[in-house]
Symmetry: D2
């Protein structure tokens, strides 16, 4: 549905050591996670009992910002450097974990937190997989 | 494939006057456009004849930044205000038009520009449609 | 204090018609506004009476996203196009106005809203001035 | 000149263990670095010998994206979690190092790279200092 795979294959990559499929999945999950977290923070802030959701909304905003940045870094082949990519993936994985842990506290009451928590879990897994298996 | 529609319907919207389907499409096109433009700027910069692609790469970076911001603004229901949304959509539409016009100059030679130009065209159309028909 | 002026003068501009001083001020105000709005949204969400501040926090997040994007667009000389810059400035001006109006409702009770409202007012004025006088 | 210190002190922090002065400096350096890197990438792309600057411009764009995200994460007190902040600081430090190393290759020829390299060096140092001494 998105052009991520087509864009990455259109440009002769400077990162032969990276698994292209895992990279595409990670970028797509990061884009999806960024949007879900932005929406989730908005839903959390508007809840009548908003104060107890403040930490969840804030964790979601942190995760949205890291996911947006990392999707961009992973989309660039020209300046690719394994140490920069790895540190960025670890930072996003931490932000996903923190948001997931807050979201699942409210997942039964808030559908937005349920969906967002899942998006964070999948995104964190994609980061871990790219870190572990993406560069043989 | 993405959670955009699920996230928007999970949260009781404060913008009854906005067509939810058009909004979902516009957010998805903006996310896709932001990624395609980021990749396209990277491919343009790495071309051996990079200098003549500088304007294309720069237009793509501008478009990526506006698309990222507007996808976030459209994802927030709580502070929704028609005048803010409309000005943001117009700004993204202008950025998409400028990038599309640069990309199509190089579309025959550069596959990245061909895909990115299409992504910008679709995103610009989604903005125009939301501006025109989204709020009856 | 920042390198904005030095960076803009280091690179032979492609936008002779733009007043360089006004441009530097507008970029600096947009960077400052983006940070103030991010902080303000965080303070709003953590207030015990958070629900009534939700609209203010959301308007601040919208403004932070637009300010970040516009500071980047204005920092690029190569793809400069008056219609793209103007639409981006108008979108940021709208987002600043909306956030300022929410912030001043709470400015007496919340110091964060007081400072953020001022940052938005200054940023909006810098946008308007660049739109009006920046291109003679 | 910026409101960073005022904003952080306006809101009763949830991170008593963090040195507030170091935090303010780190946010300011990250905002400055993001702008310098955005400008530097633009100047690199427009150089007649742009192809050999592609890696520098790309490293600058990566650094701008990480700096923007980390300035936002550090501006939020409510969801503060040491492991998220530390991973984000490490990722920005890596991105600053990579951009600094590219910039200094061209610092004699390109004033933009000279200023940007310095901005990256200062920002990386502020990240390292916050990581090392910020949380006793």
């Amino acid at each position: 549905m998105t052009d991520v795979a087509a864009m990455l294959s259109a440009y002769p990559a400077k990162r032969p050591q990276v698994d292209e499929n895992m990279l595409v999945i990670c970028i797509q999950e990061a884009l999806n996670c960024a949007q879900a977290c932005t929406s989730c923070a908005d839903a959390c802030s508007a809840d009548p009992s908003a104060a107890h959701l403040a930490r969840c909304g804030g964790a979601a905003l942190n995760c949205a910002d890291m996911a947006t940045a990392v999707a961009r870094v992973l989309s660039r082949s020209t300046p690719y450097e394994p140490s920069v990519a790895a540190a960025a993936l670890r930072a996003l994985d931490e932000a996903c974990r923190a948001c997931y842990e807050e979201c699942r506290k409210h997942a039964l009451d808030m559908e937005a937190c349920q969906i967002c928590g899942e998006a964070c879990r999948r995104c964190g897994q994609a980061c871990q997989r790219l870190l572990r298996d993406g560069e043989p």
